[in-house]
């Protein structure tokens, strides 16, 4: 590659190899006013890739609500920022690393975690929590075990070494992901509101500084790979995958935070996808300035790298900064102390151009504005997803045995304990994790204060597939509910929108539908979207994944002592069901795992009801009326009861209320906006709920060593736990 000259004839084949259409190439000619050279073409191709330009999704993303009084910075920067009081800010974002993780699960997942942490600390935050949302193919697909092993080890390998706890996440298994797994990583950091750093370059003549790992020939065209569909040959093509170096990133983090405590930085931006190109162009564009780079000064790992390779390399663990003039030495000393590479590689200009020099010659010269502003944006044709016919009650018969059905759900691959995964993550380092994985939302204290952040990631892809709009609503609502269930106030979300090929109208329809539903829910719940990421073309041989808009939510608990968990706390407490039960079985886990059918519409989400119910539950938790709380989701009431019993090591006996809902539908239906709480004051809970128009039903009491639903089932908590815990370890051990 490096032997190829920069001045070449740009043939239609070369244009196509760069993933650009003829029309897009026309725009490039127009922007340049001449034929680009190879480096310039490469720069356009990555800047205009789906991954960097959001060309298929931009028009729709704009419809999402992004504001609330507590939002300091919404989408557009490296990560979103919210105000959490007392001069503290929470900074967070989620990102995908799907394709690399399929090709090299360990390194792909590891570098995904490294990348998202850089997005957060580039803004001045110390990362305090990581989350991971994973989707794998069918458990018995021949690749799944190795992928699960590699991805989990990679996420742990990077986060553990960085000393940032991985506090939660979610996992699904579905054949739709056989050829295209999803690895979405989220990072949450903390900063002071008056020490936040942005990426807009300023100050003509100011030095542009490169810090971190040296540039190698890693992952050239990673951004375009992330924007292309897989086929059987993709593995043959074997693009170079990056190897993560968490040790270097840890040093880079500490060095950056130390420099950020001074007044030396004007602007800073991490080098993620499309590395040096994307970071410099974005800094220049946001600041409305020109930028000149001397590529000879860029620290290089290998000899003979061409301008093209240097500009398109995706080597990890690197940052670009603009410094205040005269502060270079101070900065250099800090990076030297941490043993991190530091080089002045250019300066800001008033030309409005992005100029590259190598060996004393200009090897690239592009006007910045058109490179960004003329990026294509498509309103791709889309088709709404046809609604599913309702599932008649008779179509979802009762199981042969209610107890067996419950065991099947708590031991199924989507319902079983994820302990095998999260015990491979250091979820306690930094000594502020006060609610671990395994509960509804994780809780991480704001160091040295009584405050805690609540964090959850959620989406139910099978709902989104059956009805994207309802699925989009549900993903946001479930995330909001999980944060509420620990007592926290949900504040904002980040998202990671994973879909198939947007050039197919039915896939585009899924994207449009999910965004519509998400937007409605975010508005109704005052839960704005402040950052996110889109990953398209998740297809293999024309088969798309389930639409998977993962939602990562953050909430605040002002006094961590007011938190609650889902474990039953004591014997003899009343168990109260809050919210309305209708016994909706369409798209339920019961229908799929017990009856082996995927049918019907997903449960409808009533956002007003969701909000009303959540607000009242939060009040009950904070006033200590509720001693334990758990939201109802996959598997409905029965699974929620079982999880609370397993977590607490205490049984329960309940009666189903007299309704015309069939017992199995009452137990396994997945109606939304519901919670279970335990309490010693059921009357107070009931009257509070009734006053707000929220149905509250006392179901029974905690106690004993068995879970009994009168007339339906009795199972010992030990047996439930065993089934719940055994599935993943046994499967992964290969038995």
């Amino acid at each position: 590659m490096s032997t190829e000259p920069n001045e070449i004839e740009i043939t239609p084949e070369i244009v196509a190899e760069h993933g650009l259409t003829t029309d897009e190439y026309g725009r490039i000619l127009n922007a340049m006013g001449r034929t680009p050279n190879r480096t310039e073409l490469g720069i356009f191709s990555v800047m205009w890739s789906e991954h960097c330009s959001y060309k298929s999704s931009r028009v729709w993303l704009k419809t999402l609500p992004t504001e609330a009084p507590w939002v300091i910075c919404g989408p557009g920067e490296n990560a979103g920022i919210i105000d959490i009081g007392d001069g503290d800010a929470a900074i967070f974002k989620m990102e995908s690393h799907n394709h690399p993780s399929f090709i090299e699960p360990y390194q792909g997942a590891a570098t995904g975690v490294g990348g998202i942490m850089r997005d957060v600390f580039t803004m001045g935050a110390r990362p305090v929590a990581n989350m991971n949302a994973l989707r794998f193919g069918s458990p018995d697909h021949h690749k799944t075990r190795q992928l699960v092993n590699g991805v989990v080890a990679g996420i742990g390998g990077y986060g553990n070494c960085m000393g940032v706890p991985t506090v939660g996440g979610e996992v699904n298994f579905d054949p739709a992901y056989n050829g295209n797994i999803l690895v979405n990583a989220m990072c949450v950091g903390l900063a002071k509101t008056d020490r936040i750093f942005y990426s807009a370059a300023a100050g003509i003549g100011n030095p542009v500084v490169y810090v971190g790992a040296r540039t190698g020939r890693d992952g050239i065209h990673g951004a375009t790979l992330a924007s292309a569909e897989f086929d059987d040959q993709s593995e043959e093509k074997r693009p170079t995958v990056q190897v993560g170096d968490p040790f270097t990133e840890k040093l880079l983090l500490e060095a950056c935070l130390e420099l950020m405590a001074t007044d030396a930085i004007v602007a800073i931006q991490d080098m993620g996808a499309a590395g040096l190109t994307c970071s410099s162009v974005e800094m220049a564009d946001k600041g409305g300035v020109g930028l000149e780079l001397d590529l000879d000064k860029v620290p290089q790992r290998e000899t003979g790298m061409s301008a093209y390779e240097i500009m398109l390399s995706e080597s990890q663990e690197r940052m670009l900064m603009v410094l205040e003039p005269g502060r270079e030495d101070l900065a250099r000393q800090i990076f030297a102390k941490w043993g991190v590479e530091f080089a002045i590689v250019g300066h800001l200009t008033d030309t409005g151009r992005f100029t590259l020099k190598q060996g004393g010659k200009v090897v690239g010269d592009i006007p910045v504005r058109p490179l960004v502003d003329d990026a294509p944006s498509y309103e791709r044709p889309w088709e709404p997803t046809a609604p599913r016919p309702a599932l008649a009650a008779a179509d979802a018969p009762a199981p042969n045995d209610m107890g067996d059905a419950l065991l099947q759900l708590v031991g199924g691959f989507d319902g079983c304990s994820r302990r095998w995964i999260w015990e491979q993550y250091d979820h306690m380092v930094m000594a502020d994790t006060i609610a671990w994985p395994g509960g509804d939302a994780a809780l991480v204290r704001v160091h040295g204060t009584k405050k805690a952040l609540a964090i959850s990631t959620d989406v139910t892809p099978r709902y989104c597939f059956a009805d994207p709009v309802e699925g989009g609503r549900q993903a946001v609502a479930e995330c909001w509910r999980n944060i509420t269930a620990v007592g926290a106030t949900p504040l904002a979300v980040t998202d990671c929108l994973n879909f198939g090929n947007p050039e197919r109208p039915e896939i585009m329809g899924q994207l449009v539908g999910c965004i519509e539903g998400m937007g409605e829910a975010c508005t109704a719940l005052q839960f704005p979207v402040i950052s996110g990421n889109v990953s398209l073309y998740n297809e293999t041989n024309g088969v798309g994944i389930l639409p998977t808009p993962a939602i990562g939510g953050v909430g605040l608990l002002k006094d961590a002592d007011q938190r609650t968990g889902m474990a039953f706390q004591a014997e003899g407490e009343s168990i109260v069901l809050l919210g309305e039960t209708r016994g909706h079985l369409g798209q339920s886990l019961y229908l799929r795992d017990v009856l082996g059918r995927v049918e019907g519409p997903p449960p409808p989400v009533d956002l007003a009801r969701e909000r009303r119910t959540g607000d009242i539950v939060r009040g009950m938790i904070r006033s200590k009326l509720a001693t334990a709380c758990h939201d109802l989701s996959d598997g409905g009431l029965a699974v929620a009861l079982a999880e609370m019993a397993i977590a607490g090591g205490i049984g329960a006996t309940i009666d189903l209320p007299g309704t015309d809902i069939a017992p199995h539908a009452f137990l396994f239906g997945e109606d939304q906006a519901r919670y279970l709480v335990t309490t010693t004051q059921p009357e107070v809970i009931q009257s509070m709920a009734e006053a707000s128009g929220v149905p509250a039903t006392v179901l029974g009491r905690t106690g004993g060593t068995e879970l009994t639903v009168n007339k339906c089932l009795t199972i010992s908590v030990e047996v439930l736990r065993d089934r719940h815990e055994r599935t993943l370890p046994e499967h992964m051990a290969g038995s």
């Binding site: 553990n160 070494c161 170096d245 840890k250 979820h427 306690m428 380092v429 930094m430």
Partner: protein, 221 residues
Amino acid sequence: MKAAVIVFPGSNCDRDVAVALHQASGTAPAMIWHGDSTLPDLDLVVLPGGFSYGDYLRVGAIAALSPIMQAVRRHAERGGAVFAVCNGFQMACEAGLLPGALMSNAAGKYVCRHVAMRVENTDSPFTGGYDAGQRISIPVAHHDGNYFADDATLDRLEGEGLVAFRYDNDNPNGSCRDIAGILSDNRRVLGMMPHPERAADAALGGTDGAAMFTSMVETLS
């Protein structure tokens, strides 16, 4: 108590252990950079957990060569106390402060969870706050906590009462004879895989590690 925590590139439990010491003693320990080659006069040196030098090559191996480790060795030779947790334990073995080596976990995986342990020796500045045989629960978080030494060494450790903690039917890593922590001959150096600093605050899920910090404060001041 004059205490210092050594910070290596890649340490990541340095703050956690400093917080626990601060809580127990009322004073914040000094944080000393690995590149220094001398130590002030100290009652206690802490080698914290983390991934010093990325744990590349072998856990703790490169850190054991840091300039500061010479000074730590001299401090230990003078009878100074050294508290070596997790990565610190790995370094202490690599540096020869403690016998044996830490190999990768038998299951080949990183493991982070609470483990049940037994206090085997209460006659040290670290363990005096426990009763002999007391069962405690403290988290581990490591990929290489599988303690190995030859039989002669193990027999000697056991014979001389230098095994400080043992996993209690709950060995998370395959370590020889369920060893979770050991003492040096003079019992002034403790190396252990579990993290007591993560078990010294009720909000973190338990306080079984707190007695170690109060014990250090009482005996070493």
